[in-house]
């Protein structure tokens, strides 16, 4: 007789955390490739650095907390968080910035709360916001896509940039504000949107290059929906909220408020809707709650973009919505079988 003590059900599990996380990584690939296609290999270095530091920090903290290290490292949740965090950074960033940000995300954002499953805030966004507030200059030095500037930094140059072995002033000509930033500054100077969008920075709908990256994030998001890794409630309600807010104001005053398509295809709305806001740990967990949660983030994104102090607002919107999750979940409990 076996001496194993285990209670039912006795069916082989059809799913695992690792499988879910790998699916997210797969879904991130097309958008990441598009990002590199337009902006050069900088993001790859950021992602690689972030993953290495994330795993190192996670292993160290697990060790300190006397938790099993390998089972947690190989659930790949740290890899996903690092990947998403790295995608939020400017395409070229010094290595210490990456290390500091992901370190804060892993330690303060994740493990101080008890590790995976216990963090009320999205760790990647915690790390990103910490950097945005602490290092505004480094965090807002963006570069032009190759289709605009004609060239991007090579792999060797990107590595040299990251590790501070060169004077980055030589690439000043390639640096630029993001399209969202451009719109914000322009509108602040009372320049009509149409005029702002005449610069080569802008494409057909959003920023040049950016709109295509957004499209590939969308493709990845659809993959997540098809594989049932995420559900439709958060992405749909989030996108619907951004689009409707944008539409309402665009219809009122098109010279001051950019079109819904511009808002959808600029910045991080699409990746935010499918990859960031859908982090299950920090998101609402009921169906109805997820709709409220998505709507809230969508509205906040628009408000921060248009009236707030930052050109884009995904991170703050997500963190603010994270705070409301316990409340949302409590008041959106589904009707239990047999109840009126």
């Amino acid at each position: 007789m076996s001496s194993v003590i285990v209670s039912s059900p006795y069916v082989a599990p059809g799913n695992s955390l690792k499988r879910l996380m790998i699916q997210v990584i797969v879904a991130l690939l097309p958008g990441t490739v598009a990002y590199v296609w337009f902006f050069g290999p900088g993001p790859i270095i950021n992602i690689g650095l972030a993953i290495v530091f994330a795993l190192a920090f996670e292993a160290a903290v697990l060790k300190l907390r006397a938790k099993p290290v390998m089972p947690h490292l190989t659930d790949f949740s740290a890899v996903v968080a690092a990947w998403l965090f790295a995608l939020c950074l400017p395409m070229h960033a010094p290595w210490w910035l990456v290390a500091l940000g992901i370190g804060f995300a892993m330690i303060a954002g994740k493990h101080l709360y008890g590790g995976l499953g216990f963090n009320p805030f999205n760790p990647a966004m915690v790390g990103y916001v910490a950097l945005l507030i602490s290092f505004p200059r480094e965090m807002t030095t963006w570069y032009l896509p190759g289709v605009v500037s004609g060239e991007t930094l090579s792999l060797a140059e990107s590595i040299a940039y990251s590790f501070g072995s060169v004077d980055i002033g030589q690439w000043d000509a390639l640096s630029s504000a993001t399209p969202l930033d451009q719109v914000k500054t322009g509108v602040g100077q009372n320049i009509p949107i149409d005029e702002i969008r005449q610069t080569p920075l802008f494409g057909d709908y959003g920023g040049r290059g950016w709109e295509w990256i957004a499209f590939w994030w969308f493709v990845g998001g659809v993959y997540l929906l098809i594989t049932k890794t995420i559900r439709w409630h958060i992405p749909l309600s989030l996108l619907a909220a951004v689009m409707s807010m944008a539409l309402i104001f665009y219809l009122i005053e098109p010279a001051v408020y950019a079109s819904p398509w511009f808002h959808l295809l600029s910045g991080a709305v699409v990746i935010g809707a499918f990859f960031i806001a859908t982090d299950p740990v920090s998101a609402a967990t009921t169906d109805l709650g997820r709709i409220y949660y998505g709507l809230m983030i969508g509205c906040l994104i628009y408000v921060i973009r248009v009236w707030g102090g930052y050109p884009d607002g995904i991170a703050f919107a997500v963190l603010l919505a994270n705070m409301c999750v316990p409340l949302i979940d409590y008041y959106t409990q589904p009707r239990v079988y047999g109840e009126k």
Binding site: V4, N15, S16, T286
Partner: protein
């Protein structure tokens, strides 16, 4: 039946039914000894009616109880009672329970049956006979059948549901029963109609059992029943759960805190129907059942008619024995809701529908470690009770019992769907079972302490009242005394003394008489 409805969630599971369906139904041989637990049903314990040394015949009542929710135990064969005491029984806790042990004599001599025509009996008499036969629901819960049927006296039963769904993987005892005894199921349904007079009768079978459906349809054709329909329902676990089956067939939900009969429904398992037929037609009590013995660690999986009390090891021998006894993992019931057995020296009882003989390696287990809940809500999607398992888990882990109640812990039917889909492989149901028993224990303790406090307070109050009453009585007495004294004092103060007055009156009268006579 125009349409079927859906219940929330559920799972499509690998059936693993074919393993045990490759062989015909057989009767298990009699073992040397039968161990019969006094309680094989939900409800009160039976009291033994035999003593050590008594000879019993097949069908003799050996333990019973006058309680309403009870099912008597009968001798499954003839033999001698050799012991009455505590023996290990099949229970998740692995505990011992009181049992009667019968040394089988091999004669299989039956007690005299009292056969009457059941068609001439009224429903009261029919229920009485079902009660006498010790019949319980054979679907797995083992709730005594007669009290359930007695509900027909106080409630109107519109729809009688005969449950031949058998949705759990591996189990095929109802499938094989329907293939072999369809006519007895139909006759049993007829007797249930006679008792309950429902408007419609629905016989539900999952559509993964075409042979059973065909056999049942043929039997219904041969002995037609009024307003009765055989319905093939889609194969999805746990469609055989009473509440889920009701939802599939009628679209109705059993209201919170109520029972099926409150909304005019009554469910009976197909096995129970056969038991009813045999009890009513042949006066045969419930002494055996069909048990599936299957799994990847038994040589010849199949179904056997097994007398109660037969040790599981005996059944496994009938099935060709273990492939590898050293790593055998035994489960009573199915893989979703069954429970592990710590030994094979345990008796088959009325609730034993299946014995799974598995290899330890096939049983998924990661002792002591599981990933944390990431609130992905896969569990919510599959929960047939429409609960939020992830929130229940969170609060159960934190031992926040009142929170678990807010999230309707006790509506959990422990079907295991949530555990099966959890990507973190958390044994969710185990957390809920533990939370439920903690809460029940706390309630019991609370009830006891409340009662003790109430008694104490009542006593205090009683003593206080007594004291007050005594004081009041004394006060009144004192006052009365005082009044009396005051009165007598007042008489001395000038009021005429009644005695003196009377004497005066007599004297007056005498004086008057004397004057008259003069």
């Amino acid at each position: 039946m125009a349409r079927l409805y859906k219940f929330h969630g559920g799972l499509h599971l690998d059936g693993h039914k074919s393993e045990s369906l490759g062989r015909d139904l057989r009767s298990a041989s009699l073992p040397e000894q039968l161990i019969l637990p006094l309680r094989q049903h939900i409800g009160e314990y039976n009291k033994p009616l035999v003593e050590v040394g008594n000879r019993v015949l097949k069908g003799d009542v050996i333990a019973a109880n006058s309680s309403l929710i009870c099912a008597a135990v009968h001798a499954p064969t003839s033999g001698t009672v050799s012991a009455i005491g505590n023996y290990p029984v099949a229970h998740p806790s692995g505990q011992r329970d009181s049992c009667i042990v019968i040394d089988v004599d091999g004669e299989d001599e039956a007690a005299r049956a009292d056969i009457v025509n059941p068609k001439e009996l009224d429903s009261e008499a029919l229920i009485q006979r079902i009660c006498r036969a010790g019949i319980v629901g054979l679907g797995g819960a083992a709730f005594p059948t007669s009290p359930k049927l007695s509900r027909g006296k106080t409630h109107t039963v519109d729809t009688l549901i005969i449950n031949g769904v058998e949705c759990e993987p591996y189990i095929t005892c109802d499938d094989i029963l329907m293939r072999n005894y369809a006519d007895e199921i139909i006759r049993g349904s007829a007797y249930l109609q006679q008792i309950l007079s429902p408007q419609t009768t629905l016989i539900a079978i999952e559509d993964n059992k075409p042979e059973a459906i065909a056999a049942m349809q043929e039997a219904l054709l041969l002995q037609p029943l009024a307003n009765t329909e055989i319905i093939a329902i889609p194969t999805i676990y746990p469609s055989g759960g009473e509440k889920q089956l009701i939802q599939i067939l009628t679209g109705k939900e059993v209201p919170h805190g109520q029972f099926a009969f409150d909304i005019g429904l009554l469910c009976q398992n197909v096995g129970t129907c056969v038991a009813i037929t045999r009890a009513l037609e042949q006066d045969q009590p419930l002494i055996s059942r069909i048990v599936t013995c299957t799994g990847d660690n038994v040589s010849q999986p199949g179904n056997w008619e097994v007398r109660f009390g037969t040790p599981i090891s005996h059944l496994i021998e009938q099935a060709g024995g273990y492939k590898n006894p050293d790593n055998a993992f035994l489960v009573m019931g199915g893989p979703m809701m069954g429970f592990a057995l710590h030994s094979d020296r345990l008796p088959i009882v009325k609730a034993s529908n299946c014995i799974m003989v598995m290899r330890e390696q096939t049983i998924p287990h990661t002792p002591g470690y599981h990933d944390e809940c990431i609130r992905c809500s896969k569990c919510t999607e599959v929960c047939p009770a429409q609960l939020l398992p992830q929130q229940l888990y969170w609060h159960a882990r934190a031992q926040a019992w009142d929170r678990t109640l807010e999230f309707k812990l006790f509506d959990c039917i422990e079907c295991g769907c949530c555990s099966a889909v959890c990507p973190s492989q958390i044994p969710l149901v185990q957390y809920y079972r533990a939370a439920k028993s903690e809460i029940r224990a706390a309630h019991k303790a609370q009830f006891k302490s409340d009662r003790a406090r109430a008694r104490f307070e009542f006593r205090e109050k009683r003593l206080l009242l007594k004291k007050q009453a005594d004081e009041e009585r004394r006060r009144l007495k004192r006052e009365a005394l005082k009044q009396k004294q005051a009165k007598s004092g007042a008489a001395a103060d000038g009021a005429p003394d009644p005695v003196q007055a009377a004497l005066e009156r007599v004297r007056e009268r005498k004086k008057a008489i004397r004057e008259e006579t003069r």
